[in-house]
């Protein structure tokens, strides 16, 4: 600019002095026309504290997800223990009542004589006439014994509370019928081996006469008593006494061994019947009527409690950027000749560290902080709507649109946080294979502030290299969820990444 140096010309000074600083007030409408065309800030500013808050939130969520299932398991175990304990107490009470009943029966037997329920002559008949010696008794006895065992098992089941009272009563009735059957069979055959067996139901006169008749015919019949024996709850003690005495008689007689076994079975059966028949049994059954309580069986002994390991990890990944480029020209600017400046500019580096929460046998949740360094450089040309007029030889005029060469290059550092779900689909003896799917938010910490989101997917292989250490290798693909641009916003770039992530997991517990 040599104009100022040239010779002073008053004519030129006149214009220069008056017009160099000439100002003119523009119309206000011009700003309204300009403002929409101004570049907006492409990056939404997110303060660092917000970014840190998101990272902490993700970590807490991960911890919560990890801890919640185990806590719920503990609660459910506690809830189960209560009914089991209640059941155990009820069972003890029931057994106690049974024992008391048994003792009372025995005491009754001792204090009250058998003669109270049966005529003295019957007892004497039972003891004196003794057991039949007929060998034909054996098959019948066996048959009866088998039946008795079957019924006895049913009663045992009832005692344990696995069936309802109604079912128990049904079983009891079966037992009664069985007793009756026994009596009839034995009376018919006249092969009495058990002299003390009295039908536990009230025999009819016909039955009684039948029994008496059979006894007369065989000469060694047992059922000579003609007195009615009523089977009801009021005379349980008497019945008990009869059975007890019958058993004693059998033992005293030193009869056939089969008869002894049968007697034992019958004795135990009677005890159980007594227990079911007693009033003390009711609270126990009522307890099981409560629909809210479910018995799930005793708590199994756990020798090895299943644990959900918590791990921390650290990894590093060299990466190469590849881009999704969109030309963002307008009527005044035509963007073309876009080229990615290769060399080493596309290479970057990615490192991360965080925690791995084991959710289940197959799933893990991985969350942590990340640091990324990426570079990119693009060159492109913008053809503006301005005309360039050139006259190289002063003979003609060349008119062309102005071409501007531009370069958009950036070296960016990102600090981010990520959360990923890991699914192990193949677990071999030495290697495990898994896939990772997750999202990452990264905040540019140098230059203009930008927030970038990425969707990450990776295939990983892991191998144990120490007591608590695992090496993993993950080819990773990271897809950018939003676009970056230079200040002109003429190029929209998605900086996707491909990397080879190598890291180590350490088990914390």
């Amino acid at each position: 600019m040599s104009a100022l140096d040239k010779d002073k010309d008053p004519f030129e000074d006149l214009f220069r002095d008056n017009l160099f600083d000439f100002e003119s007030e523009p119309n206000d409408k011009l700003w309204k026309a300009i403002e929409p065309q101004l570049p907006a800030n492409p990056a939404r500013k997110i303060p660092y504290w917000q970014f840190a808050a998101v990272a902490v939130l993700l970590l807490l969520t991960g911890i919560g997800v990890y801890l919640l299932p185990s806590k719920m398991n503990n609660n459910s175990e506690a809830k189960i223990e209560q009914p089991v304990e209640k059941f155990a107490n009820s069972q003890k009470e029931a057994e106690k009542s049974i024992e008391e009943n048994k003792h009372s029966n025995v005491e009754t037997k001792k204090s009250d004589n058998i003669a109270k329920d049966l005529p003295t002559e019957d007892i004497s008949t039972l003891s004196s006439k003794n057991i039949a010696k007929n060998p034909n008794d054996a098959p019948n006895s066996n048959e009866l014994a088998e039946e008795s065992v079957g019924i006895s098992s049913k009663i045992n089941t009832a005692k344990l509370g696995n069936i309802s009272k109604k079912e128990a009563i049904t079983v009891e009735k079966e037992a009664i019928v069985s007793y009756k059957k026994q009596g009839v069979l034995k009376a018919k055959k006249g092969n009495r081996t058990d002299t003390g067996e009295v039908p536990p139901i009230t025999p009819t006169d016909n039955h009684q006469s039948e029994l008496s008749s059979a006894g007369d015919q065989q000469g060694n019949a047992i059922y000579n008593n003609t007195q009615k024996y009523s089977f009801n709850k009021s005379n349980t003690k008497g019945r008990s006494a009869v059975f007890s005495d019958r058993t004693n008689n059998t033992i005293n007689d030193n009869g056939v061994s089969t008869n002894n076994q049968l007697s034992e079975v019958a004795g135990s059966r009677f005890k159980m019947l007594s227990a079911l028949d007693s009033k003390e049994y009711h609270p126990f059954t009522n307890h099981f009527r409560t629909p809210k309580i479910r018995y799930r069986g005793p708590k199994p002994t756990v020798y090895f409690k299943e644990s959900k390991p918590l791990e921390w990890y650290v990894s590093a990944m060299p990466l190469i950027n590849y881009y999704t480029i969109t030309a963002n020209g307008n009527d005044a600017n035509y963007v073309h000749q876009i080229a990615v400046n290769d060399d080493a500019d596309r290479l970057g580096f990615y490192t991360q560290a965080g925690l791995v929460f084991t959710l289940s046998d197959r799933f893990k949740l991985r969350t942590g902080l990340t640091f990324t360094k990426t570079n990119h450089s693009f060159s492109y040309q913008v053809r503006t709507d301005s005309l360039v007029v050139q006259s190289p030889d002063n003979t003609g005029v060349d008119v062309s649109f102005a071409e501007i060469k531009k370069v958009y290059s950036q070296s960016a550092y990102y600090l981010g946080t990520k959360v990923e779900l890991q699914y192990t689909f193949l677990r071999g003896e030495s290697l495990s294979h898994y896939v990772n799917v997750g999202v990452e938010g990264a905040y540019k910490i140098n230059g203009s502030n930008q927030f970038n989101g990425f969707a990450n997917i990776a295939y990983g292989i892991t191998r144990q290299i120490g007591d608590n250490a695992y090496l993993f290798i993950e080819p990773t693909f990271s897809y950018s969820l939003n676009q970056q641009s230079d200040s002109n916003s003429l190029l929209l770039i998605k900086p996707n990444k491909i990397g080879f992530n190598i890291g180590i997991n350490f088990k914390l517990r």
Partner: protein, 183 residues
């Protein structure tokens, strides 16, 4: 209140409030430049609008914020030159030979001239003359630079300047001004 440099830095981050303040700071000066380089106020507004958009789009490339005043002025001038190229018409050949310098002795009315009146004289110049005159006389470019900017030779720039001055003198003479020395 931000100073000029802080304003530039804020504009480089595309801060809308800073852009508004920056616009208000330079709007009158830059409109004055636009008025000099154009024939009509409407053309000046076109250039003005385009110039400001370019300024805000390229302000990130301003490495030295202290020189922002000269930079925005230059941006407007270049926009005006582009506008000139875009609307270039083959200018009518003026019969410069017919221009005869007047030697009439009019009273010195120089002090009565306002900037607006001088501006209107410039506005009436042919486009090419006006461009060269503005660039050389007011904005201080030399002929080599003007030739490069306008895509013409240096000699063309010189001759156009000479003819522009003659036209202005003629117009001033019609206003009764024949001497330009301030008293």
């Amino acid at each position: 209140m931000l100073n000029e440099q802080e304003l530039v830095k804020a504009c480089q981050k595309n801060d809308r409030k800073a852009q508004t303040a920056f616009y208000n700071l330079y709007k009158s000066k830059l409109m004055g430049v636009c008025r000099r380089y154009t024939r009509t106020p409407e053309e000046a507004e076109d250039i003005y609008q385009e110039a400001f958009v370019k300024i805000f789009n390229n302000i990130h490339s301003l490495e030295n914020p202290k020189a922002v005043g000269a930079w925005v002025r230059k941006a407007v001038i270049h926009t005006a030159i582009n506008y000139y190229h875009a609307n270039l018409k083959f200018q009518q050949n003026t019969d410069y030979e017919n221009i005869v310098l007047s030697n009439d002795d009019y009273p010195n009315l120089l002090s009565t001239l306002t900037s607006e009146e001088l501006l209107s004289l410039i506005n009436q110049l042919p486009d090419g003359y006006r461009m060269v005159f503005n660039l050389y006389v007011i904005d201080g470019y030399n002929h080599a630079e003007i030739g490069e900017l306008l895509g013409v030779s240096e000699n063309t720039s010189k001759s156009q300047l000479s003819r522009a001055k003659e036209l202005l003198r003629k117009q001033l003479k019609q206003l009764g001004i024949i001497s330009y020395e301030r008293t």
